[in-house]
């Protein structure tokens, strides 16, 4: 028996449509606006009053993004650094999580407390000492220096999520493997890792995005053009005199579109990962 279409249902549907448009609209509008602006000429961008729609389309802004700065290099740098940070974070985080959830360590509580304090720590507190340290290790303006810092900053996330998942894996699986002669390391590698790949995936996304968006340390540790990241590079189009909105719009589209596509493709997985981790963690 089909339920009758009541007025209430119609109102709810209309309200829902309003909500949908408003919600998605407010979120998406700034990007839409950037997108539009990226194709506008200087005239349109700086006209008073505003020209909402471009009177003519141009690709100049996009050309300027790459001609005014080696933006492609920045993209590669950001990508490599985020990638390395992710790998470090997963490996070190997984090792730590395994240790915490599987073994009886004496100072577990202290370790976790310090880990938690990393999330509570204002980055400003460690900026100068960290700069000195990275400089003394000769890792300024490299992939590795910034990657190390990203790793420690995202370690709490990594450990929270991964240890939550480790809990769900029954100890018996490992024990049976070890009875079969595997070492602890082998049981870690062959059994645990494959089982936690959903968690690894979620953590990878979180760490990658956090590293990609890193600004403060990227600014301080990689100031030279050769290893500069996108977040720092994009602020360098501005001068003391003018903010080149056209170039900035184009640059931000270049940065955000791949992220948007990534999110679109992996949306289901990300959300399910977050939801599961959010509950357990």
């Amino acid at each position: 028996m089909k339920k009758p279409i009541t007025i209430k249902k119609i109102i709810v549907t209309i309200l829902y449509i309003f909500f949908f448009v408003f919600f998605v609209g407010t979120i998406v509008f700034p990007f839409f606006w950037q997108f539009l602006n990226s194709f506008k000429t200087q005239r349109d961008l700086f006209s008073i009053p505003l020209n909402f729609w471009p009177t003519e389309f141009t690709l100049d802004n996009y050309r300027e993004v790459f001609s005014k700065q080696p933006f492609l290099d920045y993209i590669i740098n950001s990508f490599v650094i985020a990638g390395i940070s992710t790998i470090f974070s997963i490996v070190i985080g997984a090792m730590a999580s395994y240790s915490i959830s599987r073994t009886r360590i004496k100072f577990k509580k202290i370790y976790l407390l310090i880990l938690l304090s990393i999330t509570l720590l204002p980055p400003i507190t460690i900026v100068n000492p960290v700069y000195m340290l990275i400089k003394n290790l000769n890792l300024l303006n490299t992939f590795w220096g910034l990657a190390l810092v990203n790793t420690i900053l995202t370690l709490p996330t990594s450990v929270w999520f991964l240890s939550g998942f480790f809990e769900t894996i029954p100890v018996e699986l490992e024990e049976s493997a070890m009875i079969d002669g595997a070492t602890v390391f082998q049981s870690f590698y062959k059994i645990i890792i494959p089982l936690v790949s959903p968690a690894v995936f979620t953590v990878s996304i979180l760490v990658f995005i956090a590293s990609w968006n890193q600004y403060l340390f990227a600014q301080i540790l990689n100031p030279l053009r050769i290893r500069r990241t996108i977040t720092v590079g994009i602020t360098l189009y501005q001068t003391d005199h003018v903010i080149p909105w056209g170039t900035l719009s184009a640059a931000s589209i270049i940065v955000t579109v791949p992220l948007i596509i990534l999110v679109l493709i992996l949306q289901k997985k990300i959300i399910s990962g977050l939801l599961d981790g959010g509950v357990k963690g």
């Binding site: 240790s99 938690l116 931000s252």
Partner: protein, 297 residues
């Protein structure tokens, strides 16, 4: 059996080693260093004289420093308002996303996008939108006849704060709503069904079932959001650079200026330490939920 345990424990410690090394080098030592320096008068300008121990003087100076007091009051008010808004709106959105509606995929994707982009970029985007000369927000409002004169979003002390809050809420509410959604999904449906049968209204269901069961997830989410918002930097740097008249100078922004623009390392360390202490204080307030989280692991 005992042999196995020892080997396990050994492995356990070894596995912890890399993270411990990182923590010592990048967290523990720097924090100690900063706190240590906070008790000294140490400036670039007087570098040749080295550091002079001044005890608690820097701290005393801070509490008499109008810039610090302004920064801290702005940051606190900003944090409270922004996080409250994010939570309320986040809960609303989470409730709606929880229902199986058409377009759910699109909503969930849209929700992730502001979170995925760098804060710097969102700051620059909003800065352009708020511009009194070229801003699209005033343009739309004027077209819709909501206002006559352009709103001085970034040149009025109060409005600049409002503008920053809006930009921050835009960026972080989506992620917040996801976290809350995860909490909602742990609430068993039969609770609602049972209470419906008993005649409970939606309102009663929300306040008596949803909220209480949501509490653990909410407290942790709110805690982390409060801590993160409290140290806001990227957004204000991009959007207002602390202006006008320091109206939007967050504590971190002021600390960075003190450190890197004025070259006052000692006082900068003091400000950084105070920021740390306040963060710790806030965490203490949420201690119960923190403990619960720690216990789980």
């Amino acid at each position: 059996m005992k042999y196995k345990m020892n080997k396990r424990e050994k492995m356990g410690y070894i596995f912890l080693l890399p993270s411990i090394v990182l923590m010592l080098a990048f967290i523990i030592y720097p924090v100690i260093n900063t706190v240590y320096l906070s008790f000294f008068n140490y400036r670039i300008q007087t570098l040749s004289m080295g550091k002079t121990f001044v005890g608690l003087n820097n701290y005393r100076m801070a509490f008499n420093d109008p810039n610090f007091l302004d920064a801290i009051s702005f940051t606190l008010i900003f944090t409270v308002v922004a996080v409250t808004l994010e939570t309320i709106i986040g809960v609303m959105f989470a409730l709606i996303m929880n229902k199986k509606m058409p377009g759910q995929g699109i909503i969930r994707t849209a929700v992730l996008i502001p979170w995925a982009i760098p804060t710097i970029i969102s700051g620059l985007m909003w800065k352009f939108m708020y511009s009194e000369q070229y801003g699209v927000i005033n343009y739309i409002f004027q077209k819709l006849m909501i206002i006559q004169e352009p709103i001085p979003w970034l040149s009025d002390a109060f409005l600049a704060g409002v503008a920053t809050i809006i930009a921050d809420v835009w960026k972080t509410t989506p992620y917040m709503s996801l976290l809350i959604l995860s909490g909602l999904q742990t609430i068993p449906q039969n609770l609602y069904e049972a209470s419906s049968i008993d005649g409970a209204t939606k309102r009663q269901q929300f306040f008596k079932i949803t909220l209480p069961l949501l509490k653990p997830v909410l407290s942790v989410a709110i805690l982390f959001r409060v801590i993160a918002t409290f140290r806001i930097y990227d957004l204000v740097a991009a959007l207002t650079n602390g202006g006008p008249a320091n109206a939007t100078q967050s504590l971190t922004l002021y600390t960075i200026r003190t450190y890197f623009n004025f070259g006052n390392i000692g006082y900068g360390s003091t400000l950084a330490t105070i920021t740390l202490l306040i963060s710790l204080l806030i965490s203490l307030l949420f201690l119960k939920s923190l403990r619960a989280k720690l216990e789980k692991v």
